[in-house]
């Protein structure tokens, strides 16, 4: 082996070992349990090999099917709101007005708020009896709502909280994108007499596509992997109205201690995430070149 290659692997070794031991090993090892019936609260029943039973059960489990559906709706609505909202706010922050640098900096703040604080702040603001949100909607003539504690509104409330935290992120990504756009195509379009909408549709949007895809990727992976704020705010309820797929995995694991079933579900989620990465990353790489 060439000396440089050997040194290179030595440089990579520590970080590789950390991911191997603490990330890859438990993940791959988890599949051992996915084929077994094993519940931590009843260890005397042992770990029986059950083949594909856990996966089959997931296909017919109404909670899981509902969780898939809810996760899908949740992600779809978040992307459908946050991408256009981000582009709109970004173009607003891209205008040349005084104090813009301060406005932009301030806008990052919601994104930097820790999840535990996010959960508590919105618990307080969305409280049906003394929350500030009902006071504000009252000012424009809307009667008090129950927000997180109503099965009809809980999902929308969670989307609202997520938008508060993440629209700043999408905005600042798109703002950076807008700022690095080349000037020439716009000048040419100006000469050709294109309308603002035409310029946006045919120049800005295609050039922003890689960034939009990155944001979509980051959002999907993040929402699948992080159930902390939704769990803190609704615990999947009321009823099963916000019982996302990731919350179902979490509760199967750490509420019911169904090791086998939870890991089968976890592997399904893992495969979905790997598929999403493989689908979107080539698109991003091609777009950036």
């Amino acid at each position: 082996m060439r000396r440089q290659t050997k040194i290179g692997f030595l440089f990579l070794l520590p970080s590789f070992l950390v991911t191997l031991i603490f990330d890859l090993y438990p993940t791959v090892f988890g599949i051992y349990y996915a084929f077994r019936s094993y519940t931590l609260t009843t260890p005397w029943l042992g770990q029986q090999f059950v083949g594909l039973d856990n996966f089959e059960r997931a296909m017919y489990d109404p909670i899981i099917i509902n969780g898939f559906y809810l996760s899908f709706i949740y992600i779809l609505m978040i992307i459908a709101i946050q991408i256009p909202a981000g582009i709109f706010t970004a173009s607003l922050f891209n205008q040349q007005v005084k104090g813009q640098a301060i406005f932009r900096s301030l806008f990052i703040l919601p994104f930097a708020v820790a999840p535990v604080a996010t959960a508590w702040i919105w618990r307080l603001i969305m409280n049906p009896s003394f929350g500030a949100l009902n006071y504000f909607v009252g000012l424009i003539g809307i009667p008090p709502q129950s927000w997180l504690s109503s099965p009809e509104q809980a999902l929308l409330s969670l989307i609202l909280v997520d938008c508060w935290q993440w629209i700043p992120f999408t905005t600042l990504v798109f703002l950076a994108g807008l700022q690095s756009l080349p000037v020439e195509p716009f000048e040419q379009a100006e000469i050709d007499g294109a309308t603002a909408w035409k310029k946006f549709r045919h120049i800005t949007l295609p050039m922003m596509m890689p960034l939009i895809t990155i944001v979509v990727l980051i959002r999907i992976i993040w929402i699948f992997g992080h159930a902390d704020v939704p769990i803190a705010l609704t615990r999947g309820g009321p009823g099963f109205s916000t019982y996302f797929f990731s919350i179902a995995i979490w509760f199967e694991a750490f509420r019911y201690w169904h090791v086998g079933y939870s890991l089968a579900l976890g592997w399904l989620l893992l495969l979905i995430c790997i598929a999403v990465v493989n689908l979107l990353v080539p698109f991003i790489v091609r777009g950036l070149e």
């Binding site: 007005v97 003394f130 902390d228 694991a253």
Partner: protein, 276 residues
């Protein structure tokens, strides 16, 4: 209308819209700070009070009646550990990916990207069982390693970007002068990338500090972080203002960092796809 008037009118409209959007997005943060100074009878008033007599009793109660301070100590320990380790490992790996001639380098970068996509909820249980087996469950070190693998894929990518921007001639010149590869990296390249190191360290600090899921799972009452302590108070009505005090303490340092490192944060979290 004259063109100049029109420009001015759009400017005013832009201003108003920006102020309105900022007010909506910043209100929850403002409300967190404000309610941390409210006494219990003020907080539960309907409609909410915007003018009231501030009190420090929530902070006192938080320190005296909960384990928040111990949690803060734990959270600082873990975040510091993650930041130091992660910055070192990221720059080591980043250097190999940016500079050295390795077979399958693309795949190595892709491997780290893939581990980033592993959903934590899916691997939390096997990780829990594994940490229990090796005796790291509930220890600071266990939590540090768990935080580490979640953050590293992002920061390796970032460090690689910073290192690739340094001209190759510099380390080659150092090595002709008799430095080993590692010495050149340590004595020449690292001092040249001070800015990059600061950015990687700050992003690591933010991500480690704002981590909640693993801190809820992999800690004991002795090692629990401040964030997890606050989440543990959920369901107790009495706790609202205490928690707002705690949340204000946890959130403030990160808000300050984010305010000043806003562009670098965004660049880092998009794997450098956004130019800062």
């Amino acid at each position: 209308m004259r063109r100049k008037d029109k420009v001015r009118l759009t400017n005013i409209a832009t201003y108003c819209l920006i102020i309105l959007i900022l007010a909506v997005f910043l209100f929850p943060i403002y409300w967190m700070y404000v309610s941390s100074f409210m006494s219990i009878d003020v907080l539960f008033k309907i409609p909410p009070r915007f003018i009231f007599e501030p009190t420090l009793e929530n902070y006192m109660n938080l320190f005296e009646k909960t384990f928040f301070l111990r949690g803060l100590y734990n959270q600082i320990t873990v975040a510091a550990g993650v930041t130091i380790l992660n910055t070192m490992l990221s720059f080591l790996a980043g250097y190999a990916l940016a500079r050295l001639d390795l077979p399958g380098k693309e795949n190595i970068g892709g491997y780290f990207l893939l581990t980033w996509a592993f959903p934590f909820v899916a691997i939390a249980l096997p990780l829990y069982l594994f940490l229990k087996d090796v005796g790291l469950l509930g220890s600071h070190l266990g939590l540090i390693f768990v935080d580490l693998f979640g953050i590293m894929p992002i920061t390796i990518w970032l460090a690689r970007g910073y290192l690739a921007a340094i001209p190759r001639d510099i380390d080659e010149a150092a090595m002709i002068d008799g430095c080993s590869r590692f010495k050149a990296f340590l004595n020449i390249i690292l001092p040249l990338s001070k800015g990059g190191i600061a950015v990687v360290a700050l992003i690591t600090l933010i991500l480690a500090w704002n981590e909640l899921q693993a801190s809820l799972l992999f800690t004991t009452s002795q090692t629990v972080t401040a964030a997890a302590t606050l989440e543990g108070l959920a369901g107790k009505k009495i706790a609202y203002q205490w928690v707002m005090a705690g949340a204000s303490i946890i959130v403030t340092p990160i808000l300050v960092i984010a305010l000043f490192a806003q562009k670098q944060l965004i660049r880092g979290l998009t794997f450098g796809a956004v130019k800062a």
